[in-house]
């Protein structure tokens, strides 16, 4: 080809040619890169914690204990980073979540919604769920009093500060999952479930790291939000269920009960899920009032 013709052609098509060249660049990751990175991280990780990290979080020292924030924050960040993966690759198999749970999009499990249904004969200290108690028919666990719950869970039970909301009308405990239920009340946003004004689920658990499963995207809206400076997610729309690993290692599939939208966030290593017919603003205000 003549020099002129060559140059004119290259000039006109330079950008196309560069993209074509980009496609031909041959620099794949060598096999085992991820494993080598993991080995490096494990080798460099300080051996300061002797137990599982959720115990470190909960352990002596209280809020602000040295060495606590970096680890908690990193796991939150990993969850946040995973959200971006969802956006980037809807059809790929993705698991993600806050510490304590991961979110899978898809139809709820066909079997019983929870592997931890309330036992027919609970301990003597527990009340029998009254048929009229809000949320009693949702399979949230065995009914306990708020005081009992405070003694049985490994985290501090926080309640909305709004005096108009007051203490919950019913409390359910199932493994590391505590559910606080309020009955219908003008001060509450209400839920799609009859007899339930608001539901707050508190989970003591950890993310399931091996959580890469085939997901089906169903159009559920997930929006990363900030709750009192901590990352969280606003979930609105279709069915979703959650899966988390309790500190004892057991896995619980937890179908969300379609009582409304849900706000998820973490505080002091504990995962909170606020459910009801709330707007995002209402949910965040309520979440930030927990004390």
């Amino acid at each position: 080809m003549s020099e002129d013709r060559s140059m004119s052609r290259l000039g006109l098509e330079l950008e196309v040619a560069l993209r074509d060249l980009g496609g031909a660049i041959d620099a794949p990751a060598a096999p085992g890169l991820a494993g080598r990175v993991r080995a490096r991280i494990e080798a460099e990780r300080p051996a300061r914690a002797t137990g599982p990290w959720w115990r470190t979080i909960k352990g002596a020292g209280g809020p602000g204990a040295p060495g606590r924030m970096p680890r908690v924050r990193r796991s939150l960040l990993l969850a946040a980073a995973a959200v971006l993966l969802v956006a980037a690759a809807v059809t790929a198999a993705i698991g993600y979540g806050l510490p304590g749970l991961r979110i899978l999009f898809g139809p709820p499990p066909s079997a019983a919604p929870s592997s931890s249904a309330p036992s027919p004969s609970g301990p003597a200290t527990s009340m029998s769920p009254s048929p009229a108690a809000p949320g009693a028919d949702l399979g949230l666990g065995r009914s306990v009093t708020l005081d009992e719950a405070a003694g049985l869970v490994a985290f501090e039970v926080a309640l909305p500060a709004d005096p108009g909301i007051g203490p919950p009308d019913a409390v359910y405990l199932s493994g590391g999952r505590l559910a606080l239920a309020w009955g219908p009340d003008p001060a509450l946003p209400g839920t799609a479930h009859e007899g339930l004004g608001l539901l707050l689920v508190v989970i003591d658990g950890r993310v399931e790291p091996e959580s890469v499963e085939k997901l089906i995207h169903t159009g559920t809206v997930v929006e990363p939000v900030t709750v009192a400076g901590a990352p969280g997610y606003w979930i609105a729309g279709a069915h979703h269920f959650l899966s988390y690993i309790a500190p004892d290692g057991s896995r619980i599939e937890d179908t969300m009960r379609d009582v409304g939208n849900a706000l998820l966030w973490t505080r002091d290593g504990v995962t909170y899920r606020l459910e009801g017919e709330l707007t995002l603003d209402q949910a965040i205000r309520l979440a930030e009032s927990l004390s």
């Binding site: 060249l21 680890r71 990993l78």
Partner: protein, 173 residues
Amino acid sequence: MRAGAGEVMAYEELVRRYQDVAVRTAHVIAPAADADDAAQEAFVKAWIALPRFRVGAPFRPWLLRIVANEARNRRRSAGRREGLAVRATIDRPSDDAAPSPEAAALAGERRASLVGAVNRLRDEDREVIAARYFLELSEAETAEVLGIPRGTVKSRLSRALGRLRAELDEVPT
């Protein structure tokens, strides 16, 4: 289970998702250096820096900036300069008629001359061209990955393309 093992495994999953683009980035920034090694080091540094990552910000450009910095550091000590690794085969455009042998040869020549010209560019010029065309990053991503203001991306790219044309002009095949 060891402390933090769950987080490490979650991170390993992130590494798997981004390893190819990370190695590719390291290679186009520093073709002479070991891209796989640079990417590995960058992933370790990103893990350490993760607490400084702003939640809600895009993860990919944040990571690739660490990769690019690591690759640049290695570029300085990589010694003799080597060019981009490019597959020799020419892919047939799927939406085009099959190229004649002559056309395929021309395409091969064209690519070879282009590789040569890109390899002769200054690092700064090659970086911005690589980010936009080889990695297909947006302007905003390019700015973050290269650590330059967004407005600079446009002007630098325009100048880099001009110099690339000049290179092609000087040594036509």
